[in-house]
């Protein structure tokens, strides 16, 4: 069976796995990284959303072979000593209900805010529209993203 190496949350890891095995199961079953959640398996709910070289992606439809040599960041790799500002904003707005989709929501939001630090409401909705929350925390997700955006200073001109 082939061996694939990639960077996971800052550390190099190697796994022996079939080429077509979705990264989600490599992470969860082999590497015990369970922050990315299984919700649909077909890339439509966003519960597993993580970052591939800094961009949001869906480990449930990403074969492990495709991430060899790349940087993978999961919710576990976000922040450091303290919470990432987006995680903090999620706490400040009491966003979570059952909490299951929230790692994926946060990872989508973090990647989005990097590209668009001061988004409009429409841009937030568009960016977050691929993440499902069955509990219906959407209004608070919007608020948390706006709050996190405020913590990033406006670029000076």
């Amino acid at each position: 069976m082939p061996v694939y190496s990639f960077t996971l949350n800052g550390e190099t890891v190697s796994v022996e796995a079939p080429a077509d095995m979705p990264l989600l199961w490599v992470l969860r079953d082999m590497l015990r990284v369970t922050g990315p959640k299984y919700g649909c398996g077909v890339g439509v709910c966003g519960a597993c959303t993580s970052h591939l070289d800094g961009n949001a992606f869906r480990p449930c439809i990403q074969p492990v072979s495709g991430v060899a040599g790349h940087q993978v960041t999961t919710i576990e790799g976000l922040g450091g000593e303290t919470l990432h500002p987006v995680q903090q904003a999620w706490i400040d707005e009491d966003v979570a209900q059952c909490g299951f989709c929230q790692p994926g929501q946060i990872m989508t939001a973090v990647a989005f805010l990097r590209q668009n630090p001061h988004p409009t409401g429409e841009a937030i909705d568009a960016a977050m529209s691929e993440n499902v929350c069955r509990c219906g925390t959407y209004c608070r997700i919007r608020k948390a993203i706006q709050r996190a955006a405020l913590s990033t200073p406006e670029p000076s001109r």
Binding site: P22, R28, I91, F100
Partner: protein
């Protein structure tokens, strides 16, 4: 029916403690088990809360819920399941407030499934409303014992002492003793009877009704909260099951050869067929056990199974809809009668009639069912996201033929429940597989499994008839309802029972002189189960839509007609007044929780004020209104509908007013109401499980759609009516008025009357 709090002697508390310590310490204890495991290797058994509790076992432990250690650490057991309602923030605060504890020194431990805690079923919006007094008594008992101990030491009257800030104070001398200093001695006292323990006046409950921190918030946002699928046991295999696509079907034959060739697949085994009635038995089928989820999934895909579909193969949603329509067009069993509705209808100046249909719905919690189970040496241990840990224990024991005491059920976080996870079918299935496997097994359901093997919300057809006199006043009301009831999973039942009809039929307190309700036949062909708000969903939809139709027919405003139909403020507290033989009233007596029309009127009046109902039609938007009492709470909803892109109606704004009596945790109540609007929107806009040839046609979120963020209202306004009355439910009562409010707004906006959900089936309007 009051929750019977079982108060323990010291000895039995220790027994309870030993059981409770097996409970996973969630949230507050980050995912140590997983973090501690070396990458790619099989790790140790997940840590539980046991260490902390064993160390603290000496001290004061007057009952199964609270423990005060000599170092002052207070441990509170949360015996209800956390599924997003914030129960781990709400119930412990009741205990801590009565005790006078400092929350910073309180640790919360999740209970295993055990009768020692009384009812643990986290269902029916019942935790706070059912346990408000009992949980306070739990804390008050410990408080009384700590005060008595301090008073004895100081040789003063206990009446001169009070407990607050984690200590007992003597008012006369300003002396203070910390809870920890008193714990050992207090623990030697006789435990007073819970009923005799005085409760604090409400204003001394310092945190009740205030903003409570979400104790598991940090675990949720860092990915460390342990959900059902997150556990790994040494030597554990992952299983997936190919279940019969039609309920009542069975495996005729199967060939596992190709599945066993998939790398990582270890074993294939056939599960026993369930027998009627299905209860919470496993579904039967063929299980594939593998080293990891992917191998199990591929192995299952490689199975060659021939199914024998059985009698339900002819179940077809289109045909069934016609059956239900025929059913409500004929008289059913009379379940409610006031006056003479038939006579009044016959003599009415005008009769209005309408039929409404709501399809099957699926719970679709974000985390599909999943269980970790281990069966060895005649014992069974289960880790599961279950709403009903004791039923999980009972069903696991039943499936295995073991006595219940040989089964331990640990409760993880639930990635959503909505009623799905109170059914123990997925647990029955997992323990059977684990027994055959001889090693720990995680049975993972895919989303497709979840959508196709649910206990579905009942499909329903309603026929409403109203007789109006010459002035337009409603003088007769007849409600016929047909749906396959939940009782059909427990026995041969083919029409709603009176017990099912408390939800918006028998308890509808209309001021109409002639009222009649009939239950009509509806044969079950799938497993039917309770889903958030249950039968209230279609009853609220039909009743509120029909009232809107009556208002339109009279050329009057829906709000005025709604208030007229409910009539003057009054308390309805007798079966005679309702014209029914019995009323479950959500397990509470009518004396304690009467149907209070004044409260209903108030939420209607408030929500229409807040939403500026007078401006209900302007500038391409229209408002829709609906109101419903369920789970002993009163809710009114207004939505503002606008024409979205492509003429598709969109909910722009929503207002919800709830009177739920005393609310312990207003922020979580608010969050539940916000979530109820979204949940109700998914029901209204997209919710439909349909059957063809006996099998479910939908499979995943692309064809069982849920509302997404871009469709969520710009703003959801929630008002909680201030009250010191007995608590009502929170988790469910927000949902029922949402779909009819949207349908009524759609009519106001477009003139199209929708009598059948979901609205996505309605062609776009221009």
């Amino acid at each position: 029916m009051s929750q019977q709090l079982r108060l323990m002697t010291r000895r039995s508390f220790l027994a309870a403690l030993n059981l409770s310590v097996g409970g996973l310490a969630l949230g507050l204890f980050p995912n140590e088990a997983l973090a501690a495991e070396p990458s790619g290797k099989t790790g140790a058994k997940p840590k539980t809360g046991s260490e902390a509790l064993e160390k603290s076992a000496p001290g004061l432990n007057p009952n199964a819920f609270v423990h005060v250690a000599p170092d002052g650490q207070v441990t509170i057991v949360c015996h209800r399941s956390e599924m997003g309602q914030g129960i781990r923030s709400s119930l412990p605060v009741l205990i801590a407030d009565e005790l006078g504890a400092d929350m910073a020194r309180v640790k919360i431990v999740q209970a295993d499934g055990d009768k020692i805690y009384g009812d643990q079923n986290t269902d029916g919006s019942n935790s706070v409303r059912g346990l408000y007094t009992d949980m306070r008594r739990v804390g008050a008992t410990a408080r009384v014992m700590l005060i008595a101990t301090a008073a004895k030491r100081w040789k003063v009257s206990p009446d001169a002492c009070e407990a607050r800030d984690h200590a007992v104070f003597h008012r006369g001398s300003n002396r203070t003793l910390g809870f920890g200093e008193l714990a050992l001695e207090a623990g030697k006292q006789r435990v007073p009877k819970a009923e005799q323990v005085p409760l604090r006046p409400r204003n001394e409950l310092r945190r009740v009704g205030k903003h409570l921190p979400l104790i598991d918030g940090p675990a949720y946002v860092t990915g460390t909260a342990v959900f059902g699928a997150d556990l790994r046991l040494p030597g554990m295999l992952t299983a997936m099951v190919a279940r019969p696509p039609v309920v009542g079907g069975r495996v005729a034959k199967y060939d596992a050869a190709r599945a066993l060739e998939v790398p990582g697949v270890k074993r294939v085994l056939e599960l026993p067929e369930p027998k009627k009635p299905y209860h919470f038995q496993s579904w039967g089928g063929v299980a594939v056990l593998a080293e990891n989820t992917w191998a199990a999934m591929k192995g299952r895909g490689a199975l060659d199974i021939t199914w024998e579909h059985g009698e339900n193969v002819s179940y077809d949603s289109g045909k069934y809809r016609e059956e239900l329509l025929a059913s409500v067009r004929a008289p059913g069993t009379v379940v409610r009668n006031v006056g003479d509705a038939e006579g009044a209808l016959a003599g009415a100046a005008r009769v209005l009639e309408a039929e409404y249909h709501v399809p099957h719905l699926s719970h679709a919690p974000m985390e599909p069912p999943v269980v970790v189970a281990r069966v060895e040496n005649g014992t069974c241990e289960v880790w599961a996201p279950t709403q009903h840990p004791q039923a999980a224990r009972t069903e696991a024991a039943r499936a295995l033929g073991l006595p219940e005491e040989k089964v331990t059920v640990h409760v993880t976080f639930l990635g959503g429940g909505f009623g799905r996870k109170s059914k123990a079918d997925f647990i029955s299935e997992a323990v059977l597989i684990a027994r055959e496997a001889g090693v720990p097994v995680r049975v993972q359901w895919t989303r497709e499994d979840d959508i196709r093997h649910d206990y579905y919300h009942a499909v329903s057809t309603q026929r409403l008839s109203a007789g109006l006199d010459a002035q337009g006043k409603v003088i007769a009301w007849r409600h016929r309802t047909a749906f396959p009831p939940i009782g059909s999973i427990f026995g041969p039942v083919n029409r709603p029972a009176e017990g099912d009809l408390q939800q918006g039929v028998l308890d509808l307190a209309l001021a109409v002189p002639n009222l009649r309700a009939e239950a009509c036949e509806a044969n079950p062909h799938v497993r039917i189960g309770w889903m958030r708000s249950v039968y209230n969903i279609f009853h609220a939809f039909s009743v509120n839509s029909f009232i809107d139709e009556i208002a339109h027919a009279r050329g009057e405003d829906t709000r005025d007609v709604l208030l007229e139909l409910y009539g003057p403020p009054r308390v309805v507290n007798t079966l005679e007044a309702l014209g029914v033989k019995s009323l479950r009233n959500y397990g509470r007596s009518l004396e304690e929780h009467p149907i209070d029309v004044g409260r209903m009127r108030h939420v209607i009046e408030r929500v229409t004020e807040l939403s500026r109902w007078k401006e209900r039609q302007q500038d391409g938007r229209a408002l829709g209104l609906a109101a419903h009492r369920s789970f002993l709470s009163y809710v009114a909803v207004v939505v503002s509908l606008v024409r979205g892109p492509g003429g598709k109606p969109a909910v722009d704004e929503a207002w919800l007013v709830i009177d739920a009596g005393t609310v312990i945790n207003p922020d979580r109540a608010r969050a539940q109401m916000e979530g109820s609007i979204i949940f109700g929107m998914s029901v209204a806009l997209y919710g439909a499980i349909t059957m063809k040839d006996g099998a479910v046609e939908q499979s995943n979120f692309h064809d069982y759609r849920l509302v997404r963020i871009g469709e969520a209202p710009r703003k959801i306004h929630v008002e909680i009516v201030p009250s010191e009355g007995l608590p009502g439910g929170i988790g469910e009562p927000g949902v029922p008025p949402v779909a009819p409010a949207i349908a009524n707004a759609l009519f106001a906006l477009t003139g199209t009357r929708v009598r059948e959900l979901p609205l996505s089936r309605i062609p776009p309007v221009s």
